[in-house]
Subunit: 286 residues, 2 copies
């Protein structure tokens, strides 16, 4: 265990291919590192410290800003495929040859593409609130690059259900996001948000043929987690993934939206630990 | 802990309302008993001893044959509603005032109806390989009352996926079913099978209006478990339940069919224990 936690780990930088990537690396070294890939318009500070610190007890955790995002240099590209290329560049610069990946929403799209593009690099996948390429209702017509002008209202409306219990969990989550006081990340620029939105819309476009055809090639042990009332990525997309990924386990939590893992956090963390402990999710865990 | 296990617990009988019900009761008394409700054409011997014995470590487990099934007297009715009435009669005869219910397939239909009809009786629900009233493709047109002429072929074909890993798990499951040597249950009669088939088809009929309208009334903590390739009850039905039951958690396991919980058994048992331990699944588990 190194000495840092989510709140205290310094932001580091590594430059490669002309891009200076910002990242934070902490937790328990020695096992496969766990790379976090975040949602639309988010930076490293958007991760819940309860989740990152808890997973850091058993894993080395790596947060980073992809090209053009937050404190990283370069420009945000307009497709998930190019974001994935940038992510691979970052991994190569750090000398990572085997990683587990936790991707949330847009991050889950990049995680899928990364696994397809570099199946040797990725060992295990955790896909949160995301969907397959060309999924159901994933063109995000109601989302805009300015959506987060009031970030707290955005989070409470999109990540949590309207119920009192969910909204209360949302307010707790928002509070936790403030626990890191020093060395905060830079906000996501408008240009980057525009590019990210284009990328998720391109990802969500239903292809003329062979919809979902590539999913069978992601045979890695995968844990899919989704909210039963996710208003950003409809829950059917999680089932599409679970039905087509050869080795995926799906968990849906009740009365929760896009941020279900920040609402049912203790149970989510227990399920993640079970997933990692099981060795795989194919029944070989006996 | 009483002295019996799945393999050794004697079959007992209790007569009420003119029906003599066969049942087996074992495990750890003192907490809410866990009532098992089985699938189409099955009797008490069809439960996996690994599942019943494992859950009996923390719960009193009650297996029974509903009216007209196996060693029970009476006649099997032609609707889930009437089967539920018989189940309540049995519970009342045993003096049960609070139970948890684990229902598999047809048993999960009865479990839902029981919760609607007697919401005070049922505390927690586990729904395995089942679907809502009027679900998707739940008229079971390919099922017949004679289906189980070759019961092992039926089980391997319907409960397990075609993959080598799943078929191997299926053969292990079939072996485990033989571990009880004495005091075996009676087979399900042809008449009972015909009635059960009518009941599940009636349950599966899509209503002219208000489809799924009653699901919001099952607010009990619920764990739904389904196989990603369930060929008997399509996985979409599990998602329909998860989206509409107010307090349900859904888990889907990979490469598995109707008997997914008999394939991913160790992980399933860990998930069930987490479900019970969490107190509920609504986020209050903190």
């Amino acid at each position: 265990m190194n000495k840092y936690a989510h709140e205290t780990v310094p932001t580091e930088y590594i430059e490669t291919d002309g891009v200076r990537f910002a990242y934070r690396r902490f937790g328990r070294p020695g096992r496969t590192p766990l790379l976090f890939l975040g949602y639309f318009n988010s930076n490293m500070d958007a991760w819940d410290p309860v989740v990152t610190n808890s997973l850091a007890a058993d894993h080395e955790v790596i947060l980073f800003d992809n090209a053009g995002v937050g404190a990283s240099g370069g420009e945000t590209p307009y497709t998930v495929a190019e974001m994935t290329r940038d992510c691979r560049t970052f991994c190569a610069a750090l000398g990572l040859s085997a990683i587990d990946v936790l991707g949330f929403s847009l991050g889950g799209m990049i995680a899928q593409q990364l696994t397809l593009d570099d199946p040797q690099l990725v060992q295990r996948l955790i896909l949160l609130g995301t969907g397959p390429r060309g999924g159901e209702g994933m063109t995000f017509t109601e989302l805009s690059a300015e959506e987060q002008a009031d970030p707290i209202a955005f989070l409470l409306g999109a990540f949590f259900s309207p119920s009192d219990a969910s909204q209360a969990a949302g307010r707790e989550y928002v509070k936790r996001l403030d626990s890191r006081k020093e060395d905060r990340d830079l906000p996501v620029s408008g240009n980057s948000a525009v590019a990210q939105l284009a990328a998720i819309r391109e990802w969500g476009t239903v292809p003329a043929s062979n919809r979902y055809a590539t999913l069978k090639n992601i045979a890695h042990p995968t844990l899919i987690v989704h909210g039963s009332k996710d208003i950003v990525v409809a829950p059917i997309n999680a089932l599409v993934l679970a039905e087509r990924l050869p080795n995926a386990q799906l968990i849906v939590y009740p009365d929760s939206s896009h941020g279900t893992h920040y609402q049912h956090t203790p149970l989510f963390l227990e399920h993640v630990n079970l997933f990692f402990r099981a060795g795989d999710s194919s029944g070989d865990e006996r």
